[in-house]
């Protein structure tokens, strides 16, 4: 369905504004709130020279608005500072780590939809029965479980004790070396599939199941609840009831009319849960040693690698903003009633 050009332009303008806002807030947090910003940027146990260098890099001797100017231009130029832990530029580290996280989050979302939507639909059809109650508790559980704890427990039981699934890393090194696998995009599942390297593909698939499952808990709960809410509403509406009265089979009505109507809100809710999921990835990647943005951010936090922490914060906020914009546009395509 067509979306007006103005709508997209308006949305893009809003995006620019939001990005500006994100930068302002991070500026306030990193430069104005701390009494001595250079202490945070100079790594742990800095020498006086390092402190002096950090002061110069941050332009701390200049007035605030000049500092802000440098902050914004450095951001645009890609000068995001150097990580104390890896000694690489932060932006480069982030670019290397990002595909692994996106792959994990995408698989988690696919899992969430595959489990959540049918369960939510089932609950709507069996409203106020024990099936409905069970689905409700399970879906609320998804939003209530501490992801890092679930990750630890599942890793312990399914990987360490039972040995069913691998509990760390994206892929086993030996498979990569044996088959001479060379990643192209950094999305291992995708790369191995288009290269026809099924040994790496199945190995990577096994590795992704546990972390993706843990991460899928929150979007799963949300999609199940959303599907249930929308479906039970749609099933009560005139057009579905008359379709049933006309003698259309219930199956057709459910799949063709009711479920289709539930699609737009489910997509919107999943878009919103993206932010929660990527923060969950900080913790889940730390547990499963998944070499993505989350592990990078978590390690940075644990080792007081402040430039890396702030870089991750900005990147995640930007991704979140862009995803929200895309979701809004897609949503307005599916459901023309949605306006900015």
């Amino acid at each position: 369905m067509p979306v007006s050009k103005e709508y997209i332009i308006k949305r893009l303008l809003l995006l620019v504004l939001v990005v500006f806002g994100v930068l302002i807030i991070t500026f306030v947090i990193t430069r104005i709130i701390p009494a001595h910003p250079e202490l945070l940027w100079a790594g742990s146990h800095p020498t006086e020279e390092q402190l002096e260098k950090a002061r110069r890099q941050l332009h701390l001797d200049k007035p605030i608005y000049v500092q802000l100017y440098y902050y914004l231009t450095d951001f645009i130029k890609g000068n995001w500072g150097v990580s104390w832990r890896t000694k690489h530029p932060v932006l480069k580290d982030i670019a290397t780590a990002l595909p692994a996280t996106l792959e994990l989050v995408i698989v988690a979302f696919i899992m969430a939809i595959i489990i959540g939507v049918p369960l939510g639909a089932l609950a709507a059809l069996k409203r106020e029965t024990w099936v409905d109650h069970v689905v409700r508790v399970v879906s609320v559980l998804g939003a209530s479980v501490p992801v890092f704890w679930l990750a630890l427990i599942l890793q312990l039981v399914l990987s360490s004790w039972l040995g069913l699934l691998p509990g760390a890393k994206r892929v086993d090194e030996y498979v990569v070396i044996e088959t001479g696998f060379k990643p192209i995009t950094g999305f291992i599942l995708f790369d191995s599939l288009i290269q026809g390297n099924f040994a790496v593909f199945t190995n990577a698939l096994k590795h992704i199941i546990l972390p993706a499952f843990v991460l899928s808990m929150y979007p799963f709960g949300l999609s199940a609840r959303m599907t249930r809410a929308v479906m039970s509403e749609v099933l009560n509406e005139q057009h579905t009831r008359s379709a049933l009265a006309w003698g259309l089979p219930k199956r057709v009505v459910i799949y063709k009319y009711a479920l289709k109507n539930a699609l737009a809100p489910v997509i919107a809710s999943l878009g919103l849960s993206f932010g929660y999921t990527i923060i969950g990835a900080f913790m889940v990647e730390l547990v499963f040693v998944w070499p993505g943005l989350g592990l990078y951010a978590a390690m940075a936090l644990l080792s007081y690698d402040y430039p890396a922490v702030i870089g991750c914060v900005i990147v995640v906020a930007l991704i979140y903003t862009v995803i929200n914009m895309i979701v809004d546009i897609v949503h307005s395509m599916i459901d023309p009633r949605v306006k900015l």
Binding site: V18, V137, P146, F148, I153, L272, M283
Partner: protein, 293 residues
């Protein structure tokens, strides 16, 4: 929400076994949180000031229902006292967020115009961060500790309440009784705080009370990432984290505090879910889609 509505909701909760479970859990959590320091089987273990070499890594038993940790401390006592800290964090975060968010939303909504727009744009800037991300950045800047954790979470939290109050105030301010108050010459401040605020406050306080579960969950996440409370504070998230290094020899150290988080947050969320069901589902859905909840 008047007393009548409250009674209706309470009866709805009573009818549904799942919602009732939520109510019981939340009530239980509050009772334990308040009484915790007086019912600890091993008070010194709970506060974390001791080291029992001979009692390290004991599995769960009658004497130590949740086992002992790497310093020989009773995990059950630590989890019990953890309820107290979770309660403090939850009340602190939500209370502080209300203290910032409610006046913000009230002023923006009532004054409207340019001031209102600017205030709400500032709110939107905060909402551009995914949940917990801003708190992580703040906590990393402020350093570890109970108070810093509460501040970091509250500052990432208040915009939701500002939004909610803003929407409420916007619908209230055009009601005839507000016009009447203006005509008799009451000052804007008096109208705002005496006549508009009380009527806008109920939905946001209900929401806030139920958000306490999420506050507990997020505080635990901060602890896990090393920017939450300081050891040896028996905060549940930190207890799980402390058990991580020895999870292969003593799974109970991490399992039980995690379960405590799960059950408590589940209780709050089930209750929240029940209220959502009870109020207009269509409205709630719109709010949810537009990211205002």
């Amino acid at each position: 929400m008047a007393l009548e509505d409250f009674k209706i909701i309470l009866s709805l909760i009573k009818q549904n076994p799942v919602s009732l479970t939520g109510l019981v859990i939340v009530a239980g959590f509050i009772v334990v949180g308040v009484l915790a320091p007086y019912i600890l089987p091993y008070p010194e273990d709970a506060w974390g000031e001791v080291y029992h070499l001979e009692k390290r890594f004991l599995p769960p038993s009658l004497e130590h229902p949740f086992g002992t940790d790497d310093m020989g401390r009773d995990v059950f006592s630590r989890v019990l006292l953890g309820a107290r800290f979770s309660l403090i964090i939850a009340v602190g975060v939500v209370g502080l967020a209300l203290l910032i968010g409610v006046p913000m939303g009230l002023i923006a909504g009532y004054l409207g115009g340019r001031v209102g727009t600017i205030l709400m744009r500032i709110t939107d800037m905060f909402l551009a961060f995914p949940p917990l991300l801003l708190a992580i950045a703040l906590a990393a800047t402020l350093g570890r500790g109970l108070v810093n954790t509460i501040i970091a979470l509250a500052i990432s939290w208040w915009p939701w309440y500002a939004r909610l109050v803003y929407v409420q105030v916007n619908s209230i301010k055009s009601l005839p009784y507000v016009d009447a108050a203006k005509i008799i010459g009451l000052s804007p401040l008096a109208i705002m705080f005496k006549h508009v605020l009380p009527n806008a406050l109920t939905p946001v306080t209900v929401q806030a009370a139920l958000d306490m579960g999420s506050a507990i969950l997020e505080a635990a996440g901060l602890s896990f990432l090393g920017v939450g409370v300081k050891p040896p504070t028996p905060e549940w998230g930190l207890l799980v984290t402390e058990g991580w290094s020895s999870i292969n020899v003593a799974w109970w150290i991490s399992l039980f505090p995690g379960l405590a988080i799960l059950v408590t947050v589940l209780g709050f969320n089930l209750l929240a879910d029940a209220l959502r069901e009870a109020s207009d589902p269509r409205l709630r859905r719109i709010l949810l889609i537009s990211g205002r909840v």
